[in-house]
Amino acid sequence: MNENTILQVDGLVKRLGGKPVVNDVGFSCSKGEVVGLLGPNGAGKTTTLRMCYGFLRPDSGTVRVGEWDIQKDNDPASRAIGVCTQDETFDGDFTVRGNLVQGCRYYRPKIADRDERVEEVLEQFGLKDFADAKPDTLSGGYRRRLMIARAVVHRPQIVFLDEPTTGLDPEARVLVWELVDSLRAQGMAVVLTTHYMDEAERLSDRLILLKGGKIRATGTTEKLLGDVVGEHVVVVSRTGADLEVVDAWFRERGGKHSVILTDWHVPMGSADLAEFVTSFPDLRYEVRPPTLDDLFLALAKEVAQ
């Protein structure tokens, strides 16, 4: 754990209802770094995140935030953490400003310049005009901003964002992305989960791909795509001729093709692509670089198999 590492997670295991939900997960996150936890539904993203911020107790494994173990030194570790949950948990009885002030009251040592800090955060998150409004009267995008603002109002070293843009329209999503980017620029460590591939790709410095509660792959987007999907994706229309022959060719090579509406999307390496081109000279198809959507589809196939 070097001096820039804010979060160090090792060997996390969690069973819920007798079933393993997270199994031997470990990763780290440094100052000014955004780490994305990615995976299909039920992959264990939220459970991992919840153990990281001390909401759930791991069956085994450790989470260190700065110099503190989240289980043994919960108080100082929690002081260094900010959390934006998937569901809206702001206090409907208070105004936007009241929520931020109330958020500060759940931390010790107290925030010495609390009122100034609240005004600063209202400004930073574009909430100044709604400071005296009740959160329920805000649009989805502003409510999400309030959730993130409350997560950072006490100046944590690391912030956990659980699907921060789920349910938001494209414009609101971009605004949240900009906020996350500004947190990174301030030197805050950020760990986020998301279903959105473009979000993971744009925001994360490093991705951790979870599948069935285990880490399937880690690295940059390009590395993950290369490792799990392949270098290229061939898109073949299922309405053309010779489909049985093409299907048989795919199956001989592992049958990793996904059906999306009327097309087959087939990940493959350069060697396979060269062979495919020579095998089907008259077939109409498109070759494109892999995306994180392909990654999800590939994972779903692995789970099914």
Partner: protein, 272 residues
């Protein structure tokens, strides 16, 4: 589970931060929150104590003739401490846990589940005691009007005992909060707790001379609270009912705190 992690959170700042949050919300909604506790006892005392009391000239308690208003007033103090604490830790806590997600928000800070539980219980007991104090002031008003005579200074002894009783009843409410699957099942605690405890408490009338009812009452902390406070305020007697009420409240806390904690851990965290 070590005892200190069960009971010591009662004194932690986080539990009191939860209490302070609820107090702020109450003060924000003071116009709706404060009217019922003042209006309710006045209406009750006027309707039952004065109205019904006039129809009962030969009302006796412990073999002595007594005005029905004097009998009713201490009982209502005990019943208020029970009902308000139970109601707060059941309905209001359930709303905060399930619908408003206030608990989830608190649990992402330095506040832990033990603090949320104790915060809810302490708040329920504090609010119930605030209602009790309000009621005491109303009773003093009746006294100043010449309608009621009680041993007023003993109220200062009754209030802390009632606070402890409220705290124990708050954990009964939290037990249901931890257990009930949805708001649709809220009738159950009324049927299982409020009805039998209220019925065998001697709040409104002395218990009839039925053996099984007295056996039931002996095991009812509200009965001992009501009788203890009544003896205190009417006769100025520190009866055996008060230590019984205190003892039963402590036993309830001893038993219920770990159960509530375990059930809520399972409910909120899904842990076995």
């Amino acid at each position: 589970m070590k005892g200190n992690t069960l009971y010591s959170p009662m004194f932690h700042w986080q539990s009191w931060a939860v209490v302070a949050r609820h107090l702020r919300v109450l003060l924000l909604n003071w116009h709706t929150a404060l009217v019922p506790p003042i209006a309710e006892p006045v209406v009750l005392l006027l309707a039952f104590g004065v109205g019904l009391g006039r129809q009962m000239d030969d009302f006796t308690w412990n073999g002595e003739p007594i005005s029905y208003l004097s009998y009713l007033a201490p009982g209502i103090l005990a019943y208020t401490s029970f009902m308000m604490a139970f109601f707060q830790s059941l309905f209001s806590a359930f709303m905060r846990m399930h619908y408003q997600r206030t608990w989830e928000g608190q649990l992402t800070t330095q506040v832990r589940l033990e603090h949320v539980i104790w915060g809810e219980a302490l708040w329920a007991a504090s609010l119930a005691s605030f209602y009790v104090v309000t009621m005491c002031l109303v009773l003093i008003g009746f006294g100043l009007g010449g309608m009621l005579t009680l041993n007023w200074p003993w109220m200062l002894v009754a209030i802390p005992v009632l606070y402890l009783g409220s705290l124990a009843f708050a954990f009964v409410g939290l037990l249901f909060t931890a257990t009930l699957p949805s708001m649709d099942h809220m009738g159950l605690p009324f049927f299982l707790v409020i009805l039998p405890i209220g019925f065998a408490s001697g709040t409104y009338f002395p218990l009839p001379d039925i053996k099984w009812l007295h056996i039931l009452a002996e095991a009812n902390p509200l009965y001992h609270l009501a009788e203890g406070v009544r003896l205190l305020l009417i006769d100025g007697t520190l009866s055996f009912h008060l230590p019984k009420a205190i003892g039963m409240s402590l036993v309830m806390l001893l038993i219920l705190v770990p159960i509530v904690r375990r059930k809520l851990r399972r409910r909120i965290f899904g842990e076995d």
